[in-house]
C-alpha cells in the first residue's frame, strides 16, 4: 500500500512541477511536439499545462502575459483539459475543419472554459505558419469575475491532420502593447521538424 501511495505521489509531481526559465535566442521544442521556437527574450515555462499537447509561457505571470503553444491537437480532441466534461464539454478539433473554423473553435473553447460570454474574434486573416497555409486572428475577452479587458493574438495551421497553434493573451492596458512584439518574435521563428 505504501508503495502504491508513493507511486501515486510521484505521478502527481508533473502537475506540481515548478516553472523553468527559457533562455533567449536558443531553439526549444514546445508542447511535447516537433514544433520548435526561438524566443528573442527570456520567458518562463509554466509547470502546469493547459492540456496534454500544450504548454504556456509567461514573462510576469500568466494573468499578465501568456503565450500558449498547442503542439499538434489530434482529431476529436479538445484544445484544453476539460474541467467539467459532463455539463460543460468543450468542442473538439476535426481534421475536416477549414482554416476559418479554427478561430471559431478557439472562441467557443474559451467561452466555455472561462465561463464568459464576453469574447469576440476581432479579425481573421490568412498567414504562413510552420511553412503551411495558416490563419491569424485577434480577439478580445474579459473574465466575468475579474473585469480586466484582455486582448489576444493567435496563429494556427493544420499540419498532417493535426492542429498547431500559438496564442498570446494579455490585459489590453499596458501589457498587450508591451509584450506583443516578443510574441511576434516567437511565431516568426516557429518551425516544425518533419
Amino acid at each position: 500500500m505504501r508503495w502504491f501511495c508513493a507511486i501515486l505521489l510521484a505521478a502527481a509531481q508533473p502537475a506540481l512541477a515548478a516553472n523553468t526559465l527559457v533562455a533567449a535566442h536558443v531553439p526549444v521544442a514546445v508542447a511535447r511536439s516537433p514544433m520548435t521556437v526561438t524566443p528573442d527574450c527570456e520567458w518562463n515555462r509554466m509547470g502546469a499545462r493547459p492540456g496534454r499537447r500544450s504548454e504556456s509561457w509567461t514573462i510576469d505571470g500568466d494573468g499578465l502575459n501568456e503565450v500558449t503553444f498547442y503542439g499538434g491537437i489530434e482529431p476529436d480532441r479538445t484544445l484544453f483539459r476539460e474541467v467539467d466534461k459532463h455539463s460543460k464539454p468543450l468542442p473538439r478539433f476535426s481534421r475536416t475543419m477549414l482554416l476559418t473554423d479554427i478561430p471559431a473553435l478557439f472562441e467557443s473553447s474559451y467561452r466555455i472554459a472561462l465561463n464568459t460570454p464576453v469574447m469576440t474574434i476581432e479579425t481573421i486573416a490568412s498567414a504562413r505558419f510552420l511553412g503551411e497555409k495558416g490563419v491569424a486572428f485577434t480577439y478580445t475577452y474579459a473574465r466575468v469575475d475579474e473585469e480586466v479587458r484582455r486582448r489576444g493574438d493567435g496563429v494556427a495551421a493544420i499540419v498532417d491532420g493535426r492542429l498547431f497553434m500559438i496564442t498570446f493573451d494579455a490585459p489590453a492596458i499596458f501589457f498587450y502593447d508591451r509584450d506583443a512584439p516578443a510574441y511576434r518574435a516567437i511565431i516568426a521563428k516557429a518551425a516544425i521538424a518533419r
Binding site: H86, P89, L90, P91, S94, T96, M97, L98, L99, T100, D101, A104, E107, S108, R111, I112, T116, P117, V118, E122, T123, I124, A125, S126, K133, V135, A142, V144, E147, R149
Partner: protein
C-alpha cells in the same frame, strides 16, 4: 421511454391526483409602502453589501447598457407588479446564456439574456420577473440570512457538545454524539428546506401579481415545461441520463420542478383568468438583439439543447434569422450530415432574403468543408456583397 415522456406522465398523474401540488391559495397582495429603507442592523448590512456589489456591477463588461432595452424590461416589471411597486426596481441586463434572473434585497434586478432569448412572450418573462420581485417584497434575503445564522449556531454548538461528550467519555457519550450529529444534520438541512419554502412563497406571490396584471397566468408553468424539455434534449444529445425532476434532494435550494410546474398549473387553471401574452411587443423590443444572443447560444456547444430552443422559437414558421442560426449551429458541429443540412438551411435563408451576405458565407464554407466545389461560387458572392468584411482576405485565400 424518452425522458420527457416519463416526466410528462409523472406531471399528469400529479396534476390529476393533486399529490405533488399542495395548492395553497394565492395570497392577496401585501400592503406596499414605497421608498422602503432597511430596518435594523442585519438588513442595513445586507443592503450595504448589495449596494457595494451594484456599484462594481454597473460598469461590468457583462452588463448590456442599452437604454431602450432596459426601459422595455422595466415596462414589463411595472405591468406585472404595478406602477407603485416597480419604482423600487433597477434592472440590469446581463450577457449570460442561462435561463435565469435574480433580485437583490436593495432592488437590483438581474435579467439574463438567456431568459430573454428563451421566453416566448412578455407573459412568460413577466412570470419569472414577478417571482424574483416576490423574493424582494417578502425580504427573503434578510429572512434567509437570519435563518442560516441561527441554524449555523445550532450546528456549531451541537458540534461542541458532541466533541465534549467524546472527550469526557462516560456511559452516555455515544448517545450524546449521535444526538449532536443528528441535530447538526437537521440544522444544515433546515437551511435548504427554508430556501425551498421561500421559492414556494415567491411562486405563490408571483401568481398573485399575475392575477392582478394584464398577463395570462398559464404562461408561468409553460416556461418551466420548456426548461425541462430543453434539459432533456441536452441530456439526450450528450448521451447522458436525464435529471430526476420529481424530488428535491437534501441540498436542493429549489423545490422539485415537477412540484412547481404542477402547483402553478393547478393555480392557473383554478384562477381561470384570460390574459394577454404581449408577444408582438416582446418580439419587436428584442428583435435588435436576437441575432447576437443566438450567436452566444450557439457557442455554448450544446447542439441538441440549442436546436430545441430554435425549433421552439420557430414553431411552425421558420424565420430567416432562425434558419440562419440553425445553419450556423449545424455547420459548427460539422458532421458530414450536418454540413448537408446546414447548406439546406442557408439556401432557404437566401431564397427568403437574397441580400443576406452571411448566408452565402455559411453556404460556401459548409460546401467547401463537404468538398463541394459549389462553395467557391457562394463565397465569391459573399465577397462581392461584402468586400470589406473582416474575414474577406481569409475567405479569398480559401477560394484561390
Amino acid at each position: 421511454m424518452w425522458p420527457g415522456q416519463w416526466r410528462r406522465a409523472a406531471a399528469a398523474v400529479a396534476l390529476l391526483t393533486g399529490v405533488a401540488a399542495h395548492a395553497e391559495p394565492i395570497p392577496s397582495l401585501p400592503p406596499y409602502s414605497g421608498a422602503y429603507q432597511p430596518q435594523g442592523v442585519d438588513e442595513r448590512g445586507i443592503w450595504m453589501e448589495f449596494d457595494e456589489r451594484e456599484r462594481s456591477f454597473r460598469d461590468s463588461t457583462v452588463v448590456i447598457n442599452d437604454a431602450p432595452l432596459k426601459a422595455y424590461v422595466m415596462q414589463v416589471v411595472c405591468r406585472t407588479v404595478g406602477a407603485a411597486r416597480c419604482q423600487a426596481v433597477r434592472p440590469y441586463i446581463v450577457r449570460d446564456t442561462s435561463l435565469n434572473a435574480s433580485m437583490a434585497a436593495n432592488g437590483m434586478m438581474i435579467v439574463h439574456t438567456g431568459l430573454l432569448l428563451r421566453a416566448r412572450d412578455e407573459a412568460e418573462l413577466a412570470s419569472i420577473l414577478g417571482h424574483e420581485f416576490a423574493h424582494f417584497e417578502l425580504r427573503h434575503s434578510l429572512h434567509g440570512f437570519r435563518h442560516d445564522r441561527t441554524a449555523g449556531g445550532i450546528a456549531a454548538w451541537a458540534s461542541v457538545a458532541g466533541a465534549a461528550a467524546w472527550a469526557y467519555g462516560g456511559r452516555s457519550a455515544y448517545d450524546t454524539v449521535r444526538v449532536a450529529r443528528s441535530v447538526q444534520t437537521s440544522a444544515i438541512g433546515s437551511t435548504y428546506a427554508h430556501t425551498r419554502d421561500q421559492e414556494r412563497q415567491a411562486d405563490l406571490l408571483s401568481m398573485a401579481y399575475l392575477k392582478a396584471s394584464p398577463y395570462d397566468p398559464q404562461r408561468f408553468p409553460d416556461i418551466w415545461d420548456q426548461l425541462l424539455d430543453e434539459k432533456d434534449a441536452t441530456a439526450h444529445g450528450r448521451r447522458q441520463r436525464s435529471t430526476r425532476y420529481d424530488r428535491a434532494g437534501f441540498t436542493d435550494d429549489h423545490p422539485s420542478t415537477i412540484e412547481r410546474t404542477t402547483t402553478l398549473r393547478q393555480l392557473a387553471l383554478a384562477m381561470n383568468k384570460p390574459g394577454e401574452d404581449g408577444k408582438e411587443r416582446y418580439d419587436a423590443a428584442l428583435a435588435p438583439w436576437r441575432a447576437a444572443w443566438l450567436s452566444d447560444e450557439i457557442k455554448r456547444n450544446d447542439f441538441a439543447g440549442t436546436d430545441f430552443i430554435l425549433r421552439r422559437m420557430a414553431g411552425a414558421q421558420w424565420s430567416a434569422d432562425l434558419l440562419f442560426a440553425r445553419g450556423e449551429l449545424y455547420r459548427a458541429r460539422g458532421h458530414p450530415r450536418d454540413l448537408v443540412a446546414a447548406a439546406g438551411f442557408y439556401r432557404e435563408v437566401i431564397a427568403r432574403d437574397p441580400t443576406r451576405a452571411e448566408a452565402y458565407r455559411g453556404l460556401g464554407l459548409a460546401q467547401l468543408r463537404s468538398r463541394d466545389a459549389g462553395g467557391v461560387a457562394a463565397l465569391r458572392t459573399y465577397l462581392t456583397m461584402k468586400p470589406a468584411a473582416q474575414d474577406a482576405a481569409m475567405i479569398a485565400t480559401l477560394i484561390q
